[in-house]
Symmetry: C2
């Protein structure tokens, strides 16, 4: 097999002939920047081939000089023999972006395999128009002439136009020889002429999709003409200063903090947008649409709507489908007349992020029974399928807390550079791990925490109730009266402090997974479904890059199903938001999903709390519910690693073989 060596990392990997350099890099654990997910359109994965046998697809994203210097796009270049590759600094995946790039890749994977595509018809469109100049025989007024021309291209029966544009229009039309570009914004069954520009500016039309999470805000910059994702950016939701959980923020809003919370998240979104447009030399003026997906409370706080009734019986929100509003009206800086769309919510506790998730996974039209588990600060569960031409979807929400997002866990962090995303405990009790970006570890992200708890259980370092067993490992110690397990000692961590998981952390994680699992059980029961009736599970959330499904079953986060039935699909909220941004059809599907999905309030199910308590064990009080785990735990030598070389290494030495 050809060998590919990456500099300056000095790591090598053997790959099949014909594999792309991008896949080779992934296999070698070398992170390359990429936004388009390997479609050869973002130009971010540029690397220099020093020597070797390759085949590179033609591209316009590299100039002649660059090609002469050896530059190729890693995703468009096949390995035909041994190759030596240099990864230039600009191609190194940056902190904060990694999370996103993975999502972009997942979007692609999801799109190709799971989804039918929607018709490309962005919520905001630019239309270049050449109007016939008026004559005595065609003396239609300016506005009506404009409408007539638009109708020749688009079938929008109800058009609207503001007074300012109406006033500016006659001069503009005549100055530009009746050649203008109209920006059309779809709003609630009508279309508004948001902007009229002289000449042809139709090539410059951008939009932003935003996942407004309780913990993290993610924004993607999208070219609305081509549909491609140009760039992405993420940050923690600064509202966290006012409370980690949704309920805390509602209480803060009730105490007069609504405006503060509103400004805070708008400021985050503006910071993300500013970073995206400035980095890509795009004028804010050319961004006229923002689509936000978030849980219902986040949407309320973004719009400045009072969220207080969401947390009180009968848990009613102010709006589940707010109309599109001018982005400027809520303080978002794009084109002053640009629109803000919020993906409609299903209920007070199942928001537009879940609607977007249902859209992204195609759950509403699957002829299989599908379960979507979106693990965030709240864990939402959806079960649905299409039967006899009719879609049914039932949803519920479980208050998990932010443990899987790396919050409320002592050394937790989000899945950015330096986060431990994979963990294995070796037969000799050592901890093998891998970090995002292969740098020194700073903390542990969601996928790492799942691996870790599963590993501790398999190693016998914790019992099935999650209690650390001090005599089982020298890494277990007591600090301030609390037991903890040392994952990485200070001398090997980037923070120069021990990276640990405490007894309290484990309990937090158990509570979180129990809340979600109990939700799945109640939802299945209420639908008279058995776990074997579930044909597919989509696991969504910002855990990290390589969620180990087996480990997720091991800790009892998801039902014990054959692995081929389970898919990790990443951040479906932003994927769905982006689909809606790019297609009126998809947007209307969101409205349909939000209206037709049924919300079950877990609190109204008396058995929910029982199920929750029973699920607080590893994997569950009733071990027989998890036969694969039962088998594994009862197998002899369960604490030993499987034979063969370890797939995991500590920082910077060997690399795992993936793919």
């Amino acid at each position: 097999m050809p060998k590919v060596t990456f500099h300056p990392d000095e790591v090598s990997v053997e790959v099949e002939r014909g594999v792309t350099l991008q896949a080779a890099a992934k296999a070698a654990g070398v992170e390359l920047a990429s936004i388009c997910g390997g479609d050869g359109i973002c130009g971010r994965c540029r690397v220099i081939v020093k020597n070797g046998h390759i085949e590179a697809a033609p591209t316009t994203l590299l100039n002649r000089e660059e090609i002469q210097r050896g530059y190729v796009l890693a995703c468009q270049t096949k390995v035909l023999g041994n190759v030596e590759v240099e990864v230039p600094p600009e191609t190194r995946a940056e902190e904060g972006q990694i999370l996103i790039d993975i999502d972009a890749q997942r979007f692609r994977a999801l799109y190709q395999e799971e989804r039918v595509s929607f018709r490309h018809e962005p919520l905001v469109q630019k239309l270049y128009l050449e109007l016939p100049p008026p004559s005595l025989h065609d003396n239609l007024a300016d506005q009506q002439r404009l409408y007539r021309e638009i109708r020749r291209h688009r079938d929008y029966p109800i058009m609207q136009m503001g007074l300012k544009i109406l006033r500016a229009q006659p001069k503009l039309l005549r100055q530009h020889d009746w050649k203008v570009t109209a920006t059309l914004g779809l709003r609630g069954g009508t279309v508004e002429i948001l902007q009229l520009e002289g000449g042809d500016t139709s090539s410059r039309n951008y939009g932003i999709a935003v996942d407004v999470g309780t913990s993290t805000v993610v924004a993607h910059l999208v070219d609305l003409n081509s549909g491609r994702t140009i760039d992405a950016e993420a940050m923690y939701n600064s509202q966290r200063a006012y409370g980690e959980e949704v309920t805390r923020r509602i209480i803060y809003a009730e105490r007069g903090g609504l405006e503060q919370l509103q400004k805070t998240v708008v400021n985050d979104i503006n910071n993300l947008i500013t970073a995206l447009v400035s980095r890509n030399n795009i004028a804010l003026h050319d961004c006229s649409a923002v689509v936000c997906a978030g849980n219902t409370t986040m949407m309320h706080l973004l719009l400045g709507l009072d969220p207080s009734s969401i947390r009180r019986d009968p848990y009613v929100s102010c709006s589940t489908a707010p109309p599109p509003v001018r982005a400027a009206e809520v303080g978002i800086h794009i084109n002053p007349r640009g629109l803000l769309y919020c993906v409609p919510a299903i209920g007070g506790w199942v928001g537009g992020d879940v609607t977007a998730g249902i859209l992204a996974t195609g759950l509403y039209e699957s002829d299989k029974t599908v379960m979507l588990i979106d693990v965030g600060t709240n864990g939402e569960i959806v079960i649905g399928r299409r039967e006899d031409g009719f879609s049914w979807m039932v949803t519920c929400s479980a208050s998990a807390g932010p443990a899987f997002e790396g919050s409320g866990v002592k050394c937790g962090m989000k899945a950015s550079r330096g986060a431990i995303e994979r963990v294995q405990i070796s037969h000799d009790g050592n901890v093998l791990y891998k970090t995002v970006g292969n740098v020194k570890p700073k903390g542990i992200c969601g996928s790492g925490l799942i691996d870790l708890v599963a590993g501790l259980l398999e190693a016998g370092f914790i019992d099935r109730s999650g209690r650390l067993i001090p005599e089982a490992s020298s890494r277990i110690r007591e600090r301030d009266g609390l037991l903890e397990f040392v994952v990485v000692p200070a001398q090997r961590s980037a923070t120069e402090k021990d990276i640990v998981i405490t007894q309290a952390d484990i309990e937090n994680l158990l509570r979180a997974k129990a809340a979600i699992y109990a939700g799945t059980v109640i939802l299945m029961k209420s639908l008279n479904l058995d776990v074997t009736d579930i044909d597919r599970v989509f696991l969504a959330g910002g855990f990290g890059n390589y969620l180990d499904r087996e480990k997720a079953i091991m800790i009892g986060l998801i039902p014990d199903l054959p692995l081929e039935k389970i898919r990790f699909v990443g951040n479906t909220s932003i994927i769905g938001a982006k689909m809606a941004l790019l297609s009126r059809e998809a947007w209307e599907k969101c409205e349909e999903i939000a209206q037709s999905a049924t919300y079950y309030d877990l609190i109204s199910f008396p058995h929910y709390y029982e199920e929750f308590l029973a699920a607080k064990f590893l994997p569950h009080t009733e071990l027989e519910r998890f036969p694969s785990v039962q088998k594994r735990l009862t197998e002899k030598g369960v604490k030993a690693l499987p034979p063969g070389p370890s797939p995991l290494v500590t920082y910077g030495r060997e690399v795992p073989k993936v793919g």
Copy 2:
């Protein structure tokens, strides 16, 4: 016949038994206030019956004490024997209102005889809603709950709501126990929730219809629930300071005066609205709709749209059907979220006032061939009918100048108190006249000018080219090198100056009538119609109260048709605007009319100028086109008055018998 005597005027009139006191007052020349046109709903025509035999319909508009004191509503009281009536000061028709009251009456007459009625569905409606409070089993969000309740009452598929109302809504709903009043504004195929108020405020919903004329602005205050006209007010368009005619104002706008013109007319409208609401103790807050009808230039100036292209080949306007806008955006003071609707125009020179006129006269659905002549500063002519289920309408516009509105004529004035509205020249060469309100004359309004010119012709004081013949009357004299005819000597006029008509005035009037008549001829010719093909002529305009159709034919303003084919219909612009305000169906009919009517540009007809020149004679160069006039003029003793008592008297003595 019973005799009715009016105090303190001390005038008597004999009327048929069963006639109303209102009709008797009219016959006696006693002007009574009236807004509703005799429907018994405005309560303005209150009079005191001192003694006599009457029958009064029950009314809630008079209290017990008033009834005991003898008060009745003149329009609801029938004369059964001799009656003595006192007209209290508050029931005297006020200056400025007279013009309007007559229109209100005409509206009624027109409505009953000519028009099918439109479904009552005002452009802005108030809907009182009692929402079911949310429960665990009905946990729809506030906004969606509101929409659902509205949809139970109204079938508006597309609803819109602004962020401010969305934000205020949850508190309002809960504070008022889920009982609220929604103000719904129709805008371009959608409905906007303009306002949400706690409790039931649905009884307070008012709108304003405005006729924005080049010379006069008229406003009616309408109760949108009952459809009744509460009050009316009129004033000269203050834009007159910037030019009498439309073209002058366009030029002024082109020279940087657009904003000034816009503010001026908005200020006029605000003054009218303020007067109307304050007089009737109505809060501006409860007025959420203004419908304006005006010619296309007036509409442009009102909205602040550049009118310059209207006067230049190919005579294209900025918009013929501008969308409804927030009234506040153009500076009109009603409810801050209230809407301004402009009745759509047919073309640059045939405006929304004509569309409203077509609506008001029902021309578009007449199975007869109808001609509408709207005499204003521009004279617009429409010919149309309905044939085989299809309506055709052809329109043109003739630049008449404001002579018939009393402008550009030395002693001209609008048809308000003190205006000479009827004139006859007696066999001995004396001038008999009647003024609006039976007060001392101040000047001459349109109808008086028509009578006067016709009278001068019949008396032989002018020849058929309109030249005054000095030797024919001692009232003809020269002043400053110009001939003039003394209508009222200074000692009998309210201004203490001679009221005269000059040679220049006569020429102005001839030019005006020639322009309009030539328009009717060209329009008929282009449709291959002869004058005998016209089944009905509607003459509209603000001439005065009693337009003498015979005199209008005598001077050649309208074609020589049997009088029963001709109707004087008053201000159809405001009538139509009011119909549109009160009915979505009527509004949509306006849109249909504006789109389907064809505009003929007179300038593109080479024969128009020829026709105009030929029409500058009295009644016309070709006398045979006016056989009835020809007959009269050639009859022997044409200068003598018909036998019997004179129907006209000078101020304050006898009264004419009318009706």
